[in-house]
Amino acid sequence: MKYQTPSTTKEAAAFIKREKGKAFVLAGGTDLMVRMKSGFIEPDLVVDIKQISAMQAIKKSATGFRIGAAVSAAEMGENTALKKAWPGVVESANLIGSDQIQNRCTIAGNLCNASPAADAVPALIAAGAKANVVGPQRRRTVAVEKIITSPGKTSLSKGEIVESITLPKRAPRSGDAYLRFIPRSEMDIAVVGAGVNLVLDNNSVVKSARVALGAVAPTPLLVPAAAKAIIGTKLNKAALTKLADACSAACSPIDDKRGTVEFRTEVAGVLARRAARIAYERAGGK
């Protein structure tokens, strides 16, 4: 196995493009190393992106936050400005695994691993996050919900790497939240996850919203009908019921040891309702 530590994203993309065998990006390694160990993959080339300076930092600018692909979930949790602006995104990233995992895992890795149950992804989709993708030839910006195409598969072509994730600039009176259901308090894979992000007007009426679900379909889902159910409301009971119904209607989950189809479908609505309430409160809604 060849191991490379390029110092620019373009160089990293070129290494992968040139490789004739199987090439993988190494960020935190918390998924990649497990797959190597279990024999699922046998890389010919591993490109470690942690020495690429464009990927190492969280940058706040006039247009929002840019989170480098090599930034760990723990570093996100330590960034007070990011936490204040996007508490839902940060809490989703901080739900992934133990401290040992937190110190290594990244949201770009969580996205590219393409699990239907990825915790950070519904929160990122709800936030309207964009992935900054660098290929050997060109650079493009892709909505996060367009990256995962099926379990374990992404829309990235060979040599394309997610360099960073951008979160848009926060409007006044906005808030987000992410909730997941697991049968215990820590260290488990989501049975259902729900992310809600909303902006209020001066009368605490929801002006715009995005709702996303995880672990209830082959990919994390953006649910526009659920957002529509709460836009123009103050999250009264009827609006929340409509939100929950829209979420349940969007589900096409599997039955497995973690939860049944019926359970996941029901809980998706319940969690979305609760996450919406938290996001509303964070946005200053009364």
């Binding site: 497990v34 401290d99 110190n103």
Partner: protein
Amino acid sequence: MSGTLVSAVINGDQTEFVCQTDESLLDVLRNRIGLTGSKEGCGTGDCGACSVLLDDRIVCSCLVLGVEIEGKAVNTVEGLADGDSLHPLQSNFIKHAALQCGICTPGFLMAGKALLDKNMNPSDEEIRFALAGNLCRCTGYDKIVRAVKATAKELRKT
């Protein structure tokens, strides 16, 4: 087969070793450096028996490549004691009977150290969250939590 030369600071000592690119840090520590304190439990980041500090952050050494530690500092359970005198965490694990078979202990000690390095006055809940990445099938955890709590109290006095 040729290998890659890596140089890193392990338990305070500048160390050089040669390893294969696909070898985990845990395998490097155990098989190349002879530091067998860190244990392999699951090998997939669930049990924490291989926990070490990498540039002062707690990680599962089974999920780190040996070649990744070039230029970095690694601290393992072997570096905890100061010569013959045990680290307060180690003494308290003994005092509170916070171990039985001992396989998980090096990982718990390092996770406990990572917590106390940032927080000298953790609540029970904070201790339990900080140790959530470490599994123990003997003690039922309670004695481990007590040992960490007692250590924190001791460290606050010094």
